[in-house]
């Protein structure tokens, strides 16, 4: 309890005052005798930590209490009492989570206590991909891995490929140090949630590193374009909090919100008005709005824009642009007027389903914001937290995979997150050596030769830089429970490997990571106690607005697979709230969480609009085959009343061949059938770049489970 009220007190009192009282009396005494992780508390204790389920890096507090588990020793079963994590909540001190947490973050405890975790280092027994492993000792595993890594390193360190999560912090710093000690190339990521396009656009247009922060809470009129910021985007908790403030947090002020998106996402569902854009028409839409804004003389600072951009906008034809978007010009005019006349207008743009022209779209939104004069202002776009250690690069992973010999996988699943056409399976089965650090045997770890399981994030020490945060923020988590299994933190493993190879490597501990950024009035202990280091953003100097540069690489046309007659539907897989890039699929709570759109549980459907469904004689629950020029899959259909005719969407998450009992063999992976089309400036997979055909299967409608099958409030019957 004390810890809890401590947090509550801290959140109201200014930081630093209560700093020395990290714990209650018993807490200060006991650690002298027993280490922190060995305490089995009978009373609840709350410890700060970091959520590692996505790159948002929310600060959390974790409730620890006694729990019981069964262990087997020498053939006998024992009940053992250990300190166990009961619940995860947001850390009230953390400016990102603000004491709140999304469904996925709260389910992190289920990945900690997942029945199918890898409990010890393992060596491959069967052929690659069959996921047959035998447990080995750490010494043996590290010996073997460092030996072969040594051979590769001395032969060609350029052929070592390290895939890691798109997150920055102490962990990624250790990885980078490890790789540079080996003279190997820096790590890559193949996560679908890297938001590389958004990062690139902000770098190109503003020269910022990172995803810009949208100060939604203080805006009055918001136009969202292509960013599902309340669903599976960069920082759902942060933006949902902002959204609550935006709507009803200010007395007498209710922010108005228009969302233009090619899918009725959760964000669009929360909007006052949804503009259904045809996929890939975001640049056209934004250009049209910008043009109308200029025409209406509502642009506050037209000189901001580079002349080339300004000219191209001025030469645009609104009517034809509107036609491309599938929208009415009058509607665009009304929205533009409202946007331009608002006290605090804001355009939030992103690429929830990246297209080949997404960079152009996001850049166009930045131009529009520049015209609206909200850059760096309250209620506008703010510069990101730039104290980042370099993020893992995004690039054409499939080519890099083919070019490498030695693959190290850190929570990355290229088999799942690359299209079948990219040939990741074949590449992986031919590589010389694959080492996985993942605590679960996923589709890609199934190909690994060695699995050196990492601790769960809640068992490990780490400092994470949140992807989006107001001001500068580092979230810190230190271990407070004994690791459940014979696992090792990644940095320990890397250090051990490096030492075996004769290289010197110091792990970047959270303490080391934070210390360099520590302001003079704070100590490491305070940071560790509170769970992070948070500072106000430096005030923009004077009225200086960042340089707005032209985004060159932008295609305006969306590149899609050819043969429109045979493949009449746009197909857009998207990052969902519950599964994100697919990594949440192994959590039973996420599987049984009714999908916000279809209310589906334990299976993700394909979302089809009612018109097309009627034409193809498809009803909700029917099985359909979705066929692209490259591949096909079968999944149940959901006739989504709000789907745009001709646009088929599907959440990413199902279709894992291996990923624990709750995800293995469940549903279909929409990535698999995608065209291997990349967004050119970043090398991100263009999720929206594929067209498909759909056919109903004559299979009994079974296997599709909805929590609430009925999606209309009234019954279908009236007088008739």
């Amino acid at each position: 309890m004390e810890r809890r009220s401590f947090f509550k007190i801290l959140s109201s009192v200014s930081a630093g005052v209560a700093a020395s009282s990290c714990s209650n009396k018993t807490d200060t005494l006991i650690p002298l005798l027993v280490s922190n992780t060995e305490i089995v508390p009978g009373e609840e204790q709350w410890h700060p930590s970091v959520c590692s389920e996505c790159s948002a890096g929310c600060g959390v507090i974790v409730r620890v209490m006694e729990g019981e588990r069964t262990v087997e020793r020498q053939g006998h079963k024992f009940r053992e009492r250990i300190a166990a994590i009961k619940k995860i909540e947001g850390n009230p001190l953390d400016p990102v989570s603000g004491g709140r947490l999304c469904a996925r973050g709260q389910s992190a405890v289920q990945s900690l206590y997942h029945p199918d975790r890898v409990t010890a280092p393992m060596r491959r027994k069967g052929t690659r991909g069959t996921a047959e492993f035998v447990p080995v000792s750490w010494d043996e595993a590290i010996d073997a891995v460092s030996r072969s890594l040594n051979i590769q390193q001395s032969a060609d360190p350029g052929k070592i490929l390290f895939l890691t999560r798109p997150e920055s912090g102490s962990r990624s710093a250790t990885i980078q140090n490890f790789l540079s000690a080996l003279n190997a190339p820096p790590p890559l990521t193949c996560s679908l949630a890297s938001f590389a396009v958004e990062r690139k656009a902000s770098e190109v247009v503003f020269g910022w590193r990172g995803v810009p922060v949208y100060n939604l809470a203080r805006a009055r009129y918001v136009l969202g374009v292509g960013a599902d910021f309340l669903g599976g985007w960069v920082s759902p908790v942060y933006y949902a909090r902002q959204f609550g403030e935006f709507r009803r947090g200010r007395p007498g002020v209710r922010g108005r919100f228009i969302q233009a998106e090619s899918r009725m996402s959760l964000t669009a569902a929360s909007a006052d008005e949804w503009l259904p854009l045809l996929p890939g028409s975001e640049p056209e839409f934004l250009t049209a709005v910008t043009r109308l804004l200029l025409d209406a003389r509502l642009a506050r600072d037209p000189e901001q824009l580079p002349p080339a951009v300004l000219n191209s906008i001025k030469s645009a034809d609104v009517a034809s642009l509107a036609r491309i978007c599938g929208l009415n010009v009058n509607r665009l005019e009304r929205i533009t007027r409202d946007l331009g006349e608002s006290d605090a207008p804001l355009v939030i743009s992103g690429a929830s389903s990246p297209n080949t022209n997404s960079l152009h779209a996001v850049a166009a939104a930045h131009y529009l914001n520049a015209l609206l004069g909200n850059i760096g202002r309250p209620g506008g776009i703010l510069a990101p937290n730039q104290d980042l250690s370099p993020l893992p690069l995004v690039g054409s992973v499939s080519e890099k995979l083919k070019a490498s010999n030695f693959l190290l996988l850190d929570y990355q699943n290229p088999v799942y997150s690359l299209p079948a056409a990219a040939g990741a399976r074949e590449t992986l089965s031919q590589l010389e050596m694959i080492v996985s650090f993942s605590p679960f045997i996923d589709d890609s770890s199934a190909y690994a030769d060695w699995i050196l399981p990492d601790h769960h994030a809640l068992e490990t020490a780490q400092a994470v830089v949140p992807a989006v945060a107001p001001g500068s923020a580092i979230t810190v988590g230190l271990p407070f429970i004994r690791p459940l299994y014979d696992t090792r933190a990644l940095d320990q493993t890397l250090v051990a490997i490096a030492h075996k190879m004769g290289k010197s490597l110091e792990p970047v501990t959270p303490e080391r990571y934070v210390k360099s950024l520590l302001p003079p009035d704070q100590t490491w202990d305070q940071v560790a106690c509170r769970g992070g280091l948070w500072q106000e953003a430096p005030k923009p100097v004077g009225n200086e607005v960042p340089r707005v540069a032209e985004a060159q690489a932008a295609h305006s046309e969306i590149a899609v697979s050819p043969d429109l007659a045979r493949f009449p539907f746009y197909f857009q897989p998207y990052l969902s709230l519950q599964f994100h890039d697919g990594s949440g699929a192994n959590l039973p709570w996420m599987q049984e969480l009714p999908d916000p759109v279809s209310s589906a549980m334990w299976n993700i459907p394909v979302e089809i609009d009612p018109q097309s469904a009627a034409r193809l004689d498809i009803r909700t629950g029917d099985w359909v085959r979705v066929q692209s020029p490259y591949s096909s899959f079968e999944a149940p259909a959901y006739v989504y009343p709000a789907a745009i005719p001709g646009v088929v969407s599907m959440a990413i998450g199902d279709g894992h061949q291996h990923y624990g009992r709750y995800a293995s063999g469940r549903g279909a992976n929409p990535i698999e059938i995608l065209a291997p089309v990349l967004e050119p400036s970043t090398g991100t997979l263009a999720l929206g770049g594929t067209r498909v055909q759909i056919a109903r299967l004559d299979r009994a409608p079974a296997g599709f489970v909805q929590f609430s099958p009925r999606d209309r409030e009234q019954g279908p019957w009236g007088y008739r």
Binding site: R69, T70, K87, A103, P594, S599, D609, V705
Partner: protein
């Protein structure tokens, strides 16, 4: 409790929070297909209108803790009744499983344990020790996190003070990122929830039934 539908984004953080706090049984595809998944709080979603002028209505629905609850009098063994604080409580040990209460709940927020719940090891480590695990054959439903209410009251009593407004937060309220949910004492006219309930935007679900429910929905209208 008051739920601001204008803030609610339908993100279902509350649903997960409830599972974590209240040891809800895990479903599996088969039991879920049989309509036996547990969600003490659920987010109802309704589509209104047709494309393109279609809107979505998200509405978190949990036990409305009615003052005049239809579920209570039909129970033959007093397994559910209204306690002194006005909560509609479910006494698992008394329940014999007639399921009449669930039929008579107009909000369909009651859930039945068709079997003994099963969690594969080591998932039970996560169980909240403050909340009992329900056996087969008994009804269960949202309790407004009565364990949190009692804890706050105990703490306040030991510190010789009143429970402060907003001090008690059920798991769903605590988790809600958009802060759409507000919990407090409706008997105290000064509490935040009372003020919200008195605001013009407040309605109650199926108010026409006269259940005097204690969850107020603040309408989304502009």
């Amino acid at each position: 409790m008051a739920i601001d539908l204008d803030r609610c984004t339908g993100c279902q953080a509350c649903v997960a929070a409830c599972h974590a706090e209240n040891n809800l049984p895990l479903s599996d595809p088969e039991s879920a297909a049989k309509g036996r998944a547990f969600h003490w709080i659920r987010v109802d979603r309704y589509y209104e209108g047709e494309f393109p002028s279609i809107r979505v209505k998200h509405m978190p629905v949990l036990c409305q803790q009615c003052d005049e609850a239809p579920c209570e009098p039909v129970c033959p063994v007093y397994a559910t009744y209204r306690n002194d604080e006005g909560l509609n409580v479910q006494v698992y040990n008394r329940c014999v499983g007639t399921r009449y209460c669930a039929n008579n709940c107009p909000y369909s927020v009651r859930f039945f344990n068709w079997f003994d719940p099963v969690w594969p090891e080591p998932l039970p480590l996560q169980h909240n020790p403050d909340v009992s695990i329900r056996m087969t054959g008994v009804m269960e439903k949202c309790t407004f996190c009565i364990q949190r209410i009692q804890r706050a009251e105990r703490d306040a009593a030991s510190e010789h003070r009143q429970v402060a407004d907003g001090e008690i937060q059920p798991a769903c309220v605590q988790s809600c990122p958009a802060e759409a949910m507000t919990f407090g004492d409706l008997n105290d006219p000064e509490s935040k929830v009372s003020r919200l309930a008195a605001s013009g935007r407040a309605t109650r679900l199926l108010e026409e039934l006269g259940t005097k429910s204690k969850v107020f929905y603040l309408e989304r209208s502009e």
